[in-house]
Structures are given as C-alpha cells and as structure tokens.
C-alpha cells in the first residue's frame, strides 16, 4: 500500500516548488531566524544553539513545505519570514 495518490501533489511544477521551498527556503528561514536571535542574545551562544537545533528546525520546515496546499504560497510565506527575520541585520548593516 504505497501512499494514496489522491492526496499527493501531481503537478511537476508544484512538486518542484515545494521541494525547493522546503530545502532552500527552509534553510533560509532557519538561518535568518538564528541571525535575528543573535541581535538579542550573546552571539556565540545563539550560534551554538543553532548548531544544535538548527537542522531539526530545517527538517521540520522541509516537511511544512510538503504539507502546504500550494508551492507558490509556501515560497511566499518563507520569503516573508526570511525578510522579517533578517530585518535587524539589514537595519544594522
């Protein structure tokens, strides 16, 4: 019993959008999230915390992209999140 196709993404474009959003977008969200934290807490402590839990966060973000209804939407959400999280850095630079 492979997974029921009825519930899976059939469009190739959609599938690629979700995979790229999850892998690259998810990575961006994860990195920018810790980047934001580094402006509020001790920089090196944030980095070591990120080293420890960053990959789990990234894997969960990858899964979220697959759970999304539309690949465009999840890319948009992730891009907005990246911009938001990167704000402290962009304003400081």
């Amino acid at each position: 019993m492979p997974a029921n196709k009825k519930y899976l993404t059939t469009s190739i474009l959609q599938r690629w959008l979700k995979i790229t959003a999850g892998f690259f977008g998810g990575y961006g969200v994860m990195i920018s999230f810790f980047l934001m934290l580094s402006y509020f807490f001790e920089k090196k402590n944030v980095m070591i915390t990120g080293v420890a839990i960053g990959y789990i966060l990234w894997a969960v973000l990858l899964l979220f992209a697959f759970l999304a209804r539309s690949g465009w939407k999840i890319w948009l959400i992730y891009l907005i999140l990246i911009t938001l999280f990167a704000l402290p850095h962009l304003l400081n630079a």
């Binding site: 492979p2 420890a52 899964l63």
Partner: protein, 542 residues
Amino acid sequence: MNNRNYNIYFSTHTISGIICCALLYVIFFAGSFSFFKDEISAWQSNVSYEKNNQQAFPYRTLLDSLDKQYDLSGRDIFLYFSPNSPNTYVSITPSQDTIQNKKANERAYFNYNAVTKQEKTYKESYDLGEFLYRLHFLAQLNQVPLHIGYPFGYLVAGLVAFLFLFALITGLLLHWDKLVSNFFVFRPWSKLKTIWTDIHTALGVIGFPFQFIFAFTGVILIVNTVFLTPFSKLLYQGNMDKIYEDLEYTTTIDSPFQNKPLHAVPDIQAGIQQAQQQWPDAFLKRVTLKNYGDASMRLAIEVEAPTHQRFAGTGKIIYDLSTGKVIQQQSPYTSPTYISAIKSFIYHLHFGDYGGYFVKIINFIMGIVGCVVIVSGILIWLVARDKKNVPVHKRKFNTWLAHIFVAICLSMFPVTALTFIVVKVTGGSGQSFIYPVYFYSWLAFTVYYILRRSLDRTNRETLLIGAILSLAVPIVNGIYGNTWLWQSYTNGAIDIFFIDLFWLLLSVITFIAYLKIVKRRRHAVEKQVLPVQKHDEVSTFV
C-alpha cells in the same frame, strides 16, 4: 490525523528513505563497529592500550628526537592524544625563524605510538579501526574528484544524515496515532509484507530515541559548516577561524614570535606532570608548544574531565616557559560554559564513550537494529509495489533496485569479517592495503548477489558466510597473532580480548539466525505457505 497529512507523511517518509537507505546502512553498519575503533586498532596491531596505559608519555625522548630530525626552533608543535589508544598525532608547523633554522619551510604530520615508540605517516598508520570509523562518514568518497568547495564524501554523508533526520520525523508522525497499539503488534507467521511492516514499525519505534540522537548529533558533527558559513559571512567578515575560536573549537595562544632564543629549553615534562597532579583523573587531550625555543615560548595543556564523573568539562593551563609562570588556567571541574556543555553533550552522545563497554555494546546493538530497520524498509517498499496493477517495467526496475541495495547492504557483514582475517593473516596494514581488500571483496560479493537475483539467497548466504568468517577471526588471531582469547584475558589485554570475544558472539548469534531461517524456509516450502518463485523469492531477514 487527517488523511491528507497521513498520506503526505507516508510519501515523504518512503521517498526520503529509499533515496538514502543504502548509504545509511553503510553508515550504520560501519558506525556500529566504530564504537570499538580503539579496540580494533589494538587488536590489529596486537598492542594493547589497556595493558600499557600506566606508562607515562615520553615527552622528553620524543621532543629530543624531533629536534634532531627537524630543528624545532621557532616552530609550533601540537600533540593530539586520543583516549584508549597509544596513538598520538603529532603536527609540526614551519618555523618562524627563517634565518637560523635551515629546515624552516618543512612541516610534518605523523602518528606516534607511545608504546612501540614508532613514528608512522598517517597512511601507514591507517588501520581497520580508522578505516571503519572513516567509512561511517563516507570519507573514502572524498577522493572523488568533484570540486564543490567541501569534501564530497562528507557532503554526501551530511545529506544522508539530514534525509535520515527527515525520515525519522515523518516516520514518527506516520505512526503517531497508533504508536501504542502497533507497538504490540507482531505477526511473524502471517503474510510476508506484515512481517516487514511489523519489524520496521516495532524496531523503528523502539530504536527511535537512539536513532534520533544519532541522526541529530551526526548531522551536526559532519556538516556544522553548513550552519556556520552564513554566520561567518554575515557576522564575522568571513573569518571562520574566529568563529571556531569563539565556539571554543580552537585555543589561540597570543604570543608573537620574538626571535630571542632561550638559553635552555625548559622542562616540558615537569609542566605536564604538574597539570596531571592537579587534575589526576582528567584526560589529557592536547598539548601545544608555541614558538619552540624562543623567549615567547608557551606550553598549553588542554584536558577533559573524565566522562564517568561528568559529561562536560574542559580545562586548560597555559605556561609562559621563559619565566615558568602560569598565564591562564581553567579547571575542568568548574561548571562548564554553555558552549562547552552543548558541544560535549553532542560529542559524547554520538561517540558513546561515557559508560565503558556496557554503553558501547548497547549502542552497537541499537546500531544493528537500525540496519534491520533499513533493510526491512527496503523490503516493504518492494513488496508494496509488487502487485499486478503496477506496470511490468516498473516492477522490474523495483526488483532490480531492491536486489542491488540488499546485496550492497548484506555483503558488508562477511566483507568486514574477511578483512579482519586478511589483515591478521598477512600482517598487511595501511591505507593502500586495506582499501583494495575491503572494497574489491565488497564489490565481488555485491556483483555476485545482484546476478543471483534472489533476496532470500543473499540473506541466507551472507549470514552463513559471515558467521563462518566471524568464527575464524579469534582463531586467526590465535594462530597468526599468537594471542588466543585466554592469553589476552590473562595478560590484561582486555581490548584485544574484547574484539575476539565480540566476533565469537557475533558468529554464534548469526549461526542461530541462519539455522532459524533455514528451518522456517523448509517448513514453509513443505506446507506451501511460501511458494518458491524463481526470481523474486523473498524470505525473512533474521
């Protein structure tokens, strides 16, 4: 759980699993043996660490001979010790004194055995312990000439570890609703597919915490640069060294070269003894000599608190050798910094070095359980797609893929045992010896079982050959290494004894598994529960 989510977990779990399964098996199998890396090295070289660990490290002799060989003046010398092993890595940098020192441009990196007092290059000292340890993060693939800015093998291993982490999360979510009820379901005598499913689910759930720990610490240890690189660019102006210093991976000793030679090189052994007396149980991890023979000469000693006393704790002491004064000191028994606590936690969880043989054996068993989960996963994947409504060309492809994956995976057991035997019989060692022995025999086994096209045969025969070869390992060590089990035990060479006993037990267990399979197979054929098909017969694994 809604149906849509369930099917998405299902599909992503299947796909991430089937992509990384074969490599993940290699990582798990080699990784399980790597818990005994130092014991394997001791076994191969027949030099027991446990028998000799009372001897003091011969700093004076080593430094004198190095000074004659390289002229140490103006150089930095690093000694890296490893616990449970007499092997020390020595690294010597070029000299800053480019006028007096004629060999200033030379550098050296080699392995020094504190028991045999022998120096060997890295490739010469490369033994089976090192080989299996490196295989478990695919270091051998680094030789693939692809220039992508990061060693190819490490990148692949990192990707596999990440996919594994993802497959674990989706797998757990997939079984979440029925986690408790399914845990008690085991139907070994019903349909084939349910056997695989039950093995995969039950062992997957039991092993979940263990596997999760290894996926999560493994991905960190192999590719922490994937996380740190953006930070080095954004917050450190690209200075990765500064990041490693901030995160306490490296100790920098701030002492510029003065070019004023000291009259006599101070006694280094005394400084080290002093540190050892101060923290008697601590493990000496690294000794650094900066600017040898110069007025700016420093001695840095880095130690770790013993893991049976505390999980995290690093200490260091830095001497100014021109005056003999301590410049910096930090005890490994004070409470560790947040950074060092997290790093120690990750490291010790992954290496399983906090509870002696007991923890290592448990970890080994759980690692092999991981291997079983992987193979049963491949078989579920195959059986679920082996149906009449699936087009013939797809079924053919699936069967081939399963044959290839299973042949690669299951061959590893006899091949590993065979390599243990070959190194002992021939006495050969070093990278150039172990590579061809291991990889060619692995290739031969794999090709043979792919061509035989029978999962059942692959399973049965690799178990039987593996069992026979495992039994031969302690015998070969008795005949060719002159170390029978009882001798190493009475001599106090517990590490060597352990490896022989370990193979003996492995042999007994796999023999029992083999006999069970044969018996059940005969039984099944008689009752015709299991019709023997020509090309894709499948049988139980273990």
